[in-house]
């Protein structure tokens, strides 16, 4: 049995003269939560649109549940639930009616699933309120409910927590974790809120200018998010010399503001501070620090500003 729900092979998409996706080789293992990171226009939505059949690749192929083309691929899409570029709702219908329309579309027998799914996302008490009168957060929840209808094995969620209030974000995060852990649903989630993604994803893919820069697991990311000691002293040049000579390392950087990033001796900060004070340096700041996902992402795409 294939361990991947999705694999792309040199998948490319060209719009006029721009390569929206350039030979992307991405793989998503069954049972993972894949955080898809990239700026606006990086190619996240393009990839999602190719997988879901909204657009055709210019070149390359992909396997969805091992199906690559034709009717088999179309059938494979019955096993996915999607939110693509925002929740797709009928504004003049209630939450219940929106789900009923999708229940009929998916051919799910029995109407019980509609109420159950609404309860799952906390929209069971919306009554006759039309979707157009919902808050952005409620619309996101309804979009998620639609995606969850029919017990999909693979959820593709493009910005599912946009517009949610802090409690809503926590609830959706917990719900997605539960769906992943209790039911084994594989999730591909793209989000601008990287700190939130960091709390959820088990794997990451970083895309920039249509190219997949890196795929890594959460464990690998944590290892790569370098920890360091942030040191600020009255004489940084002297401190640098002391670190090199007495602490026997050159794994550090002197920053333009005079502070020092010491990547070695992270686990022995006492030794570092003792060495510096012994040489009569005045320590103004001394703290362990490390890159988070946002900083790592920013560095990975070349240090430019990110969303």
């Amino acid at each position: 049995m294939n361990e991947y729900v999705l694999k792309t092979n040199d998948l490319s998409k060209k719009y006029q003269n721009k390569m929206a996706l350039n030979k992307v080789n991405l793989s998503i293992k069954k049972g993972t939560i894949y955080g898809f990171i990239g700026q606006n226009g990086a190619g996240k939505s393009t990839l999602i649109r190719l997988i879901t059949g909204l657009a055709n690749p210019t070149s390359g192929t992909f396997e969805l549940f091992e199906k690559t083309d034709g009717q088999a691929l179309i059938e494979a899409r019955k096993r996915i639930g999607t939110i693509i570029e925002g929740p797709a709702l009928y504004p003049h219908m209630t939450a219940h009616e929106n789900l009923e329309a999708h229940r009929l579309l998916k051919g799910i027998p029995g109407k019980d699933c509609v109420d159950k799914t609404l309860a799952l996302v906390g929209l069971q008490n919306t009554g006759k309120k039309k979707a157009k009168n919902f808050s952005l957060g409620m619309k996101q929840r309804l979009g998620l409910a639609i995606a969850l209808l029919g017990d999909p094995e693979f959820l593709i969620l493009d910005e599912p927590i946009n517009g949610l209030d802090p409690m809503g974000v926590v609830e959706i995060r917990e719900l997605l974790k539960k769906l992943n852990q209790a039911y084994g649903i594989t999730i591909l989630i793209s989000s601008h809120i990287l700190s939130e993604l960091h709390l959820l994803a088990t794997h990451y893919g970083i895309i920039h200018d249509g190219e997949l820069l890196e795929q890594l697991s959460a464990t690998e990311l944590n290892e790569k998010c370098q920890q360091y000691l942030h040191i600020k002293v009255d004489n940084p040049n002297k401190a640098a010399t002391i670190i090199e000579s007495q602490l026997s390392t050159n794994d550090f950087e002197v920053m333009p503001d005079g502070s020092i990033k010491l990547f070695a001796h992270v686990n022995t900060p006492g030794l570092v501070s003792k060495t510096l004070t012994k040489e009569e340096l005045v320590i103004e700041q001394f703290m362990p620090m490390g890159e988070d996902l946002e900083a790592y992402f920013s560095n990975r795409i070349g240090g430019v500003g990110h969303e």
């Binding site: 879901t52 657009a55 693509i84 797709a88 579309l105």
Partner: protein, 247 residues
């Protein structure tokens, strides 16, 4: 396919524009015959059906469903719901034909409101004597339904090409209001097009009122052309939709 048909039927019943257009037409159909009370004498129901109901049906068949096309078909793109339909694991050709079928049902319903309600109201207001011949009545209503479906299939193509409801409605209204004139010019200037134009639904729709005067071959043409138009436009539209990138 049945799931798609059920879904589209559900959406058509919930479609606000469909409800509003239907109620507006029903109201107009019931009230319009009252205008006759301002005249010196009341017409017979038969004359009223021939002159008033069938007289304006071609405009109803061509124009009112254009508005429905914008809301029922194109709005699926602007609302983003077409994305979830297209990614739901259904064949695009089937998606298109399910949509077209239910849109045609809506167009047919709209197109028979006048023949049913206006004739019914005129019978109540003018009296049940001199009713239209039942065979003629049923035949013309049946043919109006065929033409409604045929025009709907052409509207569906444009409603699929556009992704904005307003553009679809504006374009279709202008197109169906103005198309007769360039087609007539084309037929008169280019002999090749003359038989095509004369055997198109754009021309034949005006022959429904003359149904009793048509010979057998003309009746066959009147019936088969809208069916062929529906099928060919459906195939063309489905091919366009199959290759369309949904944004």
């Amino acid at each position: 396919m049945s799931n798609l048909i059920k879904t589209e039927w559900f959406k058509l019943r919930k479609d606000r524009s469909f409800r509003v257009l239907s109620w507006m037409l029903i109201t107009a159909a019931v009230l319009y015959p009252l205008l006759e009370f301002g005249n010196a004498s009341l017409p017979t129901v038969e004359d009223y059906y021939l002159n008033n109901v069938l007289g304006i049906h071609s405009d109803i068949v061509k124009l009112i469903p254009s508005i429905l096309a914008g809301f029922f078909i194109t709005s699926e793109y602007s609302m983003g719901t077409m994305k979830s339909i297209a990614s739901s694991g259904k064949n695009r050709i089937q998606i298109y034909f399910a949509k077209l079928t239910m849109f045609a049902v809506g167009a047919i319903f709209i197109s028979i409101i006048l023949p049913i309600f206006m004739t019914g109201a005129s019978a109540i207001f003018f009296g049940f004597t001199d009713m239209p011949d039942i065979a003629f009545y049923l035949q013309t209503v049946g043919i109006i339904m065929l033409y409604a479906a045929a025009f709907a299939s052409i509207m569906a193509i444009f409603a699929t090409i556009f992704t904005d409801s307003g553009k679809t409605i504006g374009f279709l209204l202008l197109f169906f209001l103005l198309v007769d004139w360039p087609l007539q010019v084309l037929a008169s200037k280019v002999p090749f097009f003359e038989p095509i134009v004369n055997h198109s639904i754009f021309k034949l729709v005006y022959d429904i009122v003359r149904f009793n005067e048509l010979d057998h071959s003309e009746v066959i043409t009147l019936v088969t052309v809208p069916i062929l138009t529906f099928l060919l436009s459906g195939i063309l539209g489905s091919l366009i939709f199959r290759n369309k990138e949904i944004k």
